[in-house]
C-alpha cells in the first residue's frame, strides 16, 4: 500500500481550529442554557454524579494522601535546616487547599471521566444512537451533556474537599511519624494559616475544572468521526485538551484572584 503524504496549509489548520472553538462554545452555551429549560433530567444527573463522584473516590483518596505526604516529605528536610519544621502544617495546608488539591483532583477526574464521556458519546455517535435519540424527539445535549456538566461540577467540588482533607492527613502522618512533630501543633498551624481568600480560591477552582472536564469530554465525544478509530482519537484528545485547559485556567484564575484580593 502506497503511503501518501498530504500537506495541509496553515490557513486550513487555523480555520479548523476556529471552527472547533466555535462548536465547543456553542455546545457549552447550549448545555448551560438547558439548566433553565424543562425537562431537567435529574435522574440522569444523579446517575452521573454517582459514576463521576463515587466512582472517582478511590483515586482521589489515594492521590490526596500521596500528594499531602510527598509535599510534607519534600519540604521537611529544607524546613528542618532552618529550624522551621513547625511550619510544615502551614505549608501543606496552603499548598493543598489553594493549589494542589483542586489541580490534582481535576487532573485525575479529567483522566478518568473526560475519557469516559468522550468514548461513551463517541460510541453512541458512530452507532447512530445519537441520531436515534434526535429522531425520537429528544435533545441529546439536554439528555446527555447537561447532566454530565452539572454532575461533574457538583461532585468535583466535594471530591476536592476530600482530597484537601486527606492531603492534610498525609502531611500529618509524615510530619508526626517521620519528623516527630506534635499532632496538635501540626493541625493548629494548618488550620490557622488559612484565610478566606485561600479557601475561596480552592473552592472556586473545582467548579471551573468540572465544567472544563465535562464540556471538553462531551465535545470530543459528540464530534467523533470515523468509527472505532475515531472513538479512540476522541478519547485521547479529550484527556489531553481538558488537562491542558485545566492547567492554563488554574494559572489565570489564581492570578485573577490575587489581583482581586490585592495580592502580588
Amino acid at each position: 500500500m502506497a503511503l501518501e503524504l498530504e500537506l495541509i496549509s496553515p490557513f486550513e489548520v487555523a480555520k479548523d481550529f476556529a471552527l472547533s472553538v466555535q462548536e465547543y462554545t456553542l455546545l457549552s452555551a447550549q448545555s448551560v442554557a438547558n439548566f433553565f429549560r424543562r425537562p431537567l433530567y435529574m435522574g440522569d444527573m444523579l446517575q452521573q454524579a454517582d459514576l463521576i463522584g463515587f466512582g472517582s473516590l478511590p483515586i482521589v483518596i489515594l492521590t490526596g494522601l500521596s500528594v499531602g505526604a510527598l509535599l510534607a516529605l519534600n519540604s521537611a528536610s529544607t524546613l528542618q535546616r532552618f529550624g522551621g519544621i513547625t511550619l510544615i502544617g502551614q505549608l501543606v495546608s496552603l499548598g493543598m487547599v489553594t493549589e494542589l488539591g483542586p489541580l490534582i483532583t481535576g487532573l485525575m477526574v479529567a483522566g478518568r471521566n473526560a475519557s469516559g464521556m468522550a468514548s461513551e458519546l463517541g460510541s453512541m455517535i458512530v452507532t447512530e444512537q445519537i441520531d436515534a435519540m434526535r429522531a425520537l424527539g429528544t435533545d441529546p445535549t439536554k439528555k446527555l451533556v447537561t447532566p454530565r456538566i452539572g454532575a461533574t461540577a457538583f461532585m468535583l467540588f466535594f471530591l476536592t474537599i476530600i482530597a484537601d482533607l486527606l492531603g492534610w492527613a498525609g502531611g500529618w502522618a509524615v510530619a508526626h511519624f517521620l519528623f516527630g512533630l506534635d499532632s496538635n501543633q501540626y493541625w493548629t498551624s494548618a488550620w490557622q494559616i488559612l484565610v478566606f481568600r485561600d479557601v475561596f480560591t480552592g473552592l472556586i477552582k473545582p467548579f471551573l475544572f468540572g465544567f472544563i472536564i465535562s464540556t471538553v469530554g462531551c465535545y470530543y465525544g459528540m464530534s467523533t468521526r470515523g468509527g472505532t478509530q475515531g472513538v479512540g482519537r476522541s478519547t485521547t484528545q479529550a484527556v489531553v485538551a481538558s488537562s491542558v485547559l485545566i492547567l492554563i485556567t488554574d494559572f489565570f484564575v489564581t492570578k485573577l484572584i490575587f489581583a482581586v484580593f490585592g495580592v502580588r
Partner: protein, 281 residues
C-alpha cells in the same frame, strides 16, 4: 410467520395534517464537500402509501431518509412532512414533529446501555406517561414483533434480526403517521428478512401508515407489492393475479444523485429504460 392477533390500539389517523401528501420533496439537493449526493430530487409520498427506494450503495438513499426526518438539512430545495415545511424549522421545532414520525435505522441504533423494554418505551418515558400504561404498550409492541420474551434483555443479547424487530417496535409504539425504514432487511438471512417484510406489510395494511422503505433487496419490495396482510389469517397472502392491491405501493430509483424512476410496480415492469431493466432483472 404467524403473527399474533392484534396489538396496538388504533390506526395512526389522528393528525392535524390536511395536505395531500405525507412527505413532499421539492427540488432537494445536498452535497458533502465536493460530492453531490442528491441533486434536484422531487417526489411525493401519499398518505397511506409505501414507497420503496432503490439505488446502488452510496446513491444517497439513507441521506434521503435523514433529510426526511430533519437529521440533515438540504443545501437547497424544500421538504414538507405531514404538512409542515421542515427545511425552515429549528431543531427544537423538529423535536415535536419527529414525535409523529418513526424511523428504523440500518443497524437498528438501539441504546446499548438500556434494556429492550427501555429502548421500546424511550419516547413514552420522555412524555412522562404513567408506568402502567408504558408497560402495557411495550408488551403490545413487542407482541406485534413477536419478541415479548426479550422484554428484560439487553440489545447485545439479541441476534441481528431480533434487534431490527425491536427497532421496529420502538418506531411503532407511538403509532406514528409516517415510518422511515433504512434497509431493515440488510444483512439478514432470507427467512428473517421475510419476517421483517411481513411486519412492515402488517403495519402498512392494518394501520395504513405511510412509509419510505430503503432496501437493496428488490424481492422485498416486490413481495410488498404483490402481497397484502390478511388480519384474519394473521399472515401475508398473495394478491390475486390481475388485481391491484388496495394498498398503494410505489417505487423510486436513484441514480447519479437523481431520480430516474418514480411509479408503481406495473410501470416499473413496463419500463424500457436499460438501466432499470438491468436493475430489476
Amino acid at each position: 410467520m404467524s403473527t399474533p392477533t392484534l396489538p396496538i390500539e388504533q390506526p395512526s389517523a389522528a393528525t392535524g395534517d390536511h395536505s395531500a401528501f405525507a412527505i413532499e420533496f421539492d427540488n432537494v439537493s445536498i452535497a458533502f464537500d465536493e460530492k453531490v449526493v442528491l441533486d434536484g430530487i422531487s417526489f411525493n409520498l401519499h398518505h397511506g402509501e409505501t414507497k420503496a427506494l432503490f439505488g446502488v450503495a452510496g446513491s444517497g438513499k439513507s441521506i434521503l431518509l435523514k433529510l426526511a426526518i430533519g437529521l440533515l438539512r438540504p443545501d437547497s430545495g424544500r421538504i414538507t412532512v405531514l404538512g409542515e415545511e421542515i427545511t425552515s424549522m429549528t431543531e427544537r421545532q423538529l423535536f415535536d414533529l419527529r414525535r409523529r414520525v418513526g424511523i428504523v435505522f440500518q443497524e437498528s441504533a438501539l441504546f446499548d446501555s438500556l434494556k429492550v423494554w427501555e429502548n421500546v418505551s424511550f419516547r413514552l418515558m420522555e412524555e412522562k406517561i404513567p408506568f402502567d400504561e408504558i408497560e402495557r404498550r411495550v408488551h403490545e409492541a413487542l407482541r406485534f414483533v413477536e419478541l415479548e420474551r426479550t422484554y428484560d434483555m439487553f440489545p447485545s443479547e439479541l441476534s441481528g434480526g431480533m434487534r431490527r424487530r425491536v427497532a421496529i417496535a420502538r418506531a411503532i409504539i407511538t403509532q406514528p403517521e409516517v415510518i422511515l425504514y433504512d434497509s431493515p432487511t440488510g444483512g439478514l438471512d432470507p427467512v428473517t428478512a421475510n419476517n421483517i417484510v411481513e411486519l412492515i406489510m402488517k403495519q402498512r395494511d392494518v394501520y395504513k401508515t405511510s412509509a419510505l422503505l430503503v432496501t437493496h433487496r428488490l424481492q422485498d419490495a416486490f413481495t410488498m407489492a404483490t402481497h397484502e396482510f390478511d388480519p384474519k389469517k394473521n399472515q401475508m397472502v398473495p394478491i390475486p393475479k390481475g388485481q391491484r392491491g388496495e394498498v398503494p405501493m410505489s417505487f423510486l430509483i436513484l441514480r447519479d444523485a437523481k431520480v430516474i424512476f418514480d411509479g408503481d410496480a406495473h410501470e416499473l415492469a413496463a419500463s424500457r429504460d436499460e438501466y432499470i431493466r438491468e436493475y430489476i432483472s
